[in-house]
Amino acid sequence: MAEEPLKSFLDPQVAARLMRLPLQARRPMAGTMSGQHKSPHRGSSVEFAEYRKYATGDDIRRLDWRVLARSDRYYMKEYEAETNLRCHVILDCSGSMKFGENKSGHESKLDYGRRLAATLAYLSMQQGDAVGFHAVGAEVVKEIPAKRNPAHLRNIFELMNELQPQGPTGLVAGLHELAEKIRQRALVIVISDFFCPLSPLKEALQHLEFKKHDLAVFQVLNRAEIDFSFDRPIRFQDLESHFHLVTEPGTIRDRYLNAFNEHNEGLRHECAQFKADYRRVVTDESYEESLAEFLLDRGGGH
């Protein structure tokens, strides 16, 4: 029973292909274990970092004896520290993420987000990083703290499986809450459609950036939302409330696309401003390609 969610969210072949591309943090991470990521502290890796003058109390084992012999000065030789990272995957499970789901088997934005989240969690776990998962609806619905235990992955998948998209978007509040809650520097990956006002979202992103988290954003959209190519009058029923609107799509298409594209451009701009890695994914496109591009952009190809 426990394997079912794993199978449904994670394609082993996709995961196997993507494992060649490590998930790297752009910022130094403050991990407790040694790993593949840069640490803000000096450590004991083989990669030389810098020299500094000896100070009382320093470990004399790191004293550069050759420099002392040549110049009769005391210099300490420092090396880069490499540590593991904490990867926090935040998945929006508000009502709007239900869009796209229908009886003919098309998956919703939440399903697509689950695939992204599961694959990223798996990849992260495989390279020895700790992975935490947070489902955000009207508020932070459920969360699993970051751990690096492989069995922990199963818990994450089980939690993903239980998620039901409903209620209004509480992404902004959830991000603020998580910014405070995640104490150490971490890679924060937000998967959402970001259908919320930009101004408060900007503040939430700023909050995460202020806490020195490495931020990555996946905006999940459906093709129908992008094209809005309907020809008949439609009664649009809001997935996050009881509000409905009957309109002739042809008459408002231009305005809709205007507002929609403006919002997305704004989001992209804000992400760039806060050095967040923005990526727009569409549910009818391959998530593998999106993830591969994401990993390559983050330096996985080096």
């Binding site: 752009r26 009502g95 709007s96 993420m97 239900k98 869009f99 934005k109 459609d193 259908f195 919320c196 006002p197 990555a216 459906n222 939302e225 309907f230 008949r232 009058p233 439609i234 009664r235 649009f236 029923q237 809001d238 997935l239 996050e240 409330s241 509000f243 609107l245 009957v246 309109t247 002739e248 008459t251 408002i252 298409r253 231009d254 305005r255 809709y256 696309l257 205007n258 507002a259 929609f260 594209n261 919002h263 997305n264 451009e265 992209r268 992400c271 760039a272 050095k275 967040a276 890695d277 923005y278 990526r279 727009r280 952009d297 983050r298």
Partner: protein, 664 residues
């Protein structure tokens, strides 16, 4: 504003069809769960400002386009700035009667030719903007004129020997306007105002003028009166043609009426042609009218034949010819059907007074004889009995329709029956002071004057008893001032006559014979025409043998049309003499003022005079509405066009930005 096809306005609610379709469209919306409601709300809010206004404008344009189409189809009429002052349609009404071929004094062109020239000159300013039609007095059916330059060359505008019925022409024009429904119409009438053609007393005038006045277009009339003094002219016609078969010898008694106008006494060289053999007869013509009698002996074996007389060319070339066709000798028969024996001898004798000299006979009819009258050789049936009913009445009606004549005499008792709407009323008597005839028709009918112009002694008749005639018919003679003495009702080619009294002594002195004999003889002659294969008809009357026959002219080598040209024509066994109507020779014309009165309230303008009577000329406005419809459709199409330029630009920008790597 009035409309030529107002019933189309019932379709006005269809103008709201786009609104209904829009509402129906909205009603058949499909539900859809939607995530990005914030964008929809934003778009809807914006659309209230621009897009919604645009949508309303599109809807309004569609409604207005439909409204324009419906209004255009209803063919509205109006005046004002749109009216160019020119009529939409002009119907040229041309009197093509024989009298129109008279030339004016010191001119060579006929009145008809002058009329056509005047039409062309008057129509010149309207060329290109006005539709012209020709309605001639012969066909009385408007003919579209593509080019007025060919007006004089048309078959429909050439000279004819017919008479014209001016009020009937207006009736035809009114009917065409009502059915064809043009915009503003002017009727241009060219006529010589001949009284017999104009018929100012005809009830058709009232009907036609009422109909024209009720048309929404506002019809105007322009009158071109060609009533100037004519050039000197003479006309000729056979006023009487009788074949005498007496004692085995046949002769043709001819009476030629020669009328003169503006010509002094002179000897006229007449060309007389009998069966193709021509000779000249010089006749001394004095006064305005002359009756010249001729007697031509016919070969014994002569079956029948034809002849014509022709005058030399003068002021009117169309009244110089008169033709005649005579049949073989034929015995005429009269039948008498009486309920009382005492009158039948008198009637039999009056119908065939000299059977040994003149081929006539009379006999008593029984009820058995009455069922198959149509195929019989009877020229006249005298009926003195209660009116027939059922099969007998049907047989009698068929006989009359085929050309037979029936004279009904009073049965002596009130009769509830009727024949062709005529019946008998109460029997009246005044033995102490016998009634006498008041007025009677001296021109034509059984009591007309003799060929010598003498009156029948109708004044001498005294009536002790008479029976009232019920129903409507043509009264040929009256008792006193009111009651009908002889009433005629025409049925098909024949006629029935009701005479209010009997020839017996206890009813009247009609039995003395001085009136009764010529009356019955004339009725027999009239009825005898039914049995003749040869016919003398007037131009314009239907030709015998049906319309598909081909006729060959015998009097002239040129091809002629027997419907409109006088002459002698043969078609197979049929021989026909076609002459112009007698009334065409009359010189009595109307004053213009009298003619104008016939048009009643209809605005009329005499050519070369100021317009009389104002009427707001109504022009058709359908072109305006069609233009607006097209305009609204163009605007609607422009509004409905998607703003492709903007969209394309936006899409390009967004795709370019997507390709840019985002700094992380």
């Amino acid at each position: 504003m009035s409309f030529l096809q107002p019933w189309v306005l019932f379709a006005l609610p269809l103008a709201f069809l786009p609104v209904v379709i829009h509402l129906l469209n909205r009603m058949r919306h499909r539900p859809m769960d939607w995530g990005g409601m914030m964008f929809l709300i934003s778009a809807t809010r914006e659309s209230t400002r621009h897009a919604e206004l645009r949508q309303w404008l599109i809807l309004a344009c569609r409604c207005l386009a439909l409204l324009g189409l419906i209004l255009a189809l209803s063919r509205p009429l109006g005046g004002g700035w749109w009216n160019s002052g020119k009529p939409d349609t002009v119907i040229l009404m041309l009197d093509r009667s024989a009298s129109m071929e008279a030339t004016a004094e010191n001119q060579t062109a006929s009145r008809r030719e002058n009329a056509l020239e005047s039409f062309q000159a008057a129509a010149a300013p309207f060329k290109g903007s006005t539709r012209f039609l020709l309605l001639d007095s012969t066909a009385r059916s408007p003919l579209e004129l593509a080019d007025l330059d060919f007006l004089t060359k048309l078959e429909q505008s050439r000279a004819t020997d017919t008479a014209a019925d001016i009020p009937a022409m207006f009736r035809a024009a009114a009917e065409w306007i009502r059915r064809g429904g043009p915009g503003s119409v002017e009727l241009w009438l060219a006529t010589d105002l001949q009284r017999s053609n104009f018929r100012p007393e005809s009830e058709l005038w009232t009907t036609a003028m009422t109909e024209l006045a009720s048309l929404p277009q506002g019809v105007r009339v322009r009158l071109l009166a060609l009533d100037g003094p004519p050039a000197p002219d003479r006309s000729v016609e056979f006023s009487e043609v009788t074949r005498r078969d007496l004692n085995g010898k046949s002769s043709l008694e001819l009476a030629l009426k020669i009328s003169s106008q503006g010509v002094g006494s002179t000897e006229v060289p007449l060309t007389f042609n009998l069966g193709g053999s021509s000779r000249q007869v010089d006749v001394e013509v004095t006064g305005s009218s002359l009756l010249h009698r001729m007697s031509e002996s016919l070969p014994d074996q002569a079956e029948g034949g034809w002849g014509f007389v022709q005058l030399p060319s003068d002021g009117n070339s169309r009244n110089n010819f008169s033709g005649v066709v005579f049949s073989k000798s034929q015995q005429l028969e009269a039948g008498v059907f009486v309920s009382e024996e005492k009158d039948h001898r008198l009637l039999l004798l009056a119908a065939a007074p000299l059977p040994e000299k003149i081929p006539q006979k009379s006999r008593i009819l029984t009820t058995e004889n009455l069922t198959a009258l149509e195929g019989s050789t009877l020229a006249l049936l005298i009926w003195q009995a209660p009116l027939p009913k059922g099969a007998i009445q049907e047989s009698l009606t068929g006989y009359v329709t085929a050309g037979g004549q029936i004279l009904f005499l009073p049965p002596g008792a009130e009769d509830a029956g009727a024949v062709a709407g005529l019946g008998w009323g109460e029997v009246l008597a005044n033995e102490e002071n016998p009634a006498s005839a008041g007025t009677w028709n001296e021109v034509e009918g059984p009591l007309a004057k003799t060929q010598q112009g003498l009156n029948l002694p109708v004044d001498d008749l005294r009536f002790l008893r008479w029976q009232k005639i019920n129903g409507e018919g043509e009264v040929l003679a009256r008792l006193g001032r009111e009651e009908g003495l002889i009433v005629r009702k025409t049925l098909g080619r024949g006629a029935i006559y009701f005479c209010a009294t009997r020839p017996s002594r206890d009813w009247s002195n009609l039995g003395q014979g001085s009136v009764l004999v010529p009356m019955l003889q004339r009725l027999m002659q009239e009825g005898g025409k039914r049995l003749q294969g040869n016919l003398n008809i007037r131009c314009g009357e239907p030709l015998p043998g049906g319309p598909m026959r081909e006729w060959i002219s015998l009097d002239a080598p040129a091809k002629k049309n027997p419907k409109v040209d006088s002459g002698i024509y043969r078609s197979g066994d049929l021989l026909v003499a076609v002459n112009r109507p007698t009334l065409e020779d009359e010189t009595d014309t109307l004053e213009i003022s009298a003619a104008v009165k016939a048009f009643g309230e209809l605005p009329i303008q005499v050519f070369d005079q100021e317009k009389s009577g104002g009427v707001a000329r109504q022009s058709e406005w359908w072109k305006i509405f069609l233009f607006f419809m097209a305009l609204f459709l163009v605007v609607e199409g422009w509004l409905a066009l998607p703003v492709r330029g903007k969209e394309a630009g936006r899409e390009e920008r967004s795709s370019a930005k997507e390709k840019e790597p985002v700094a992380g």
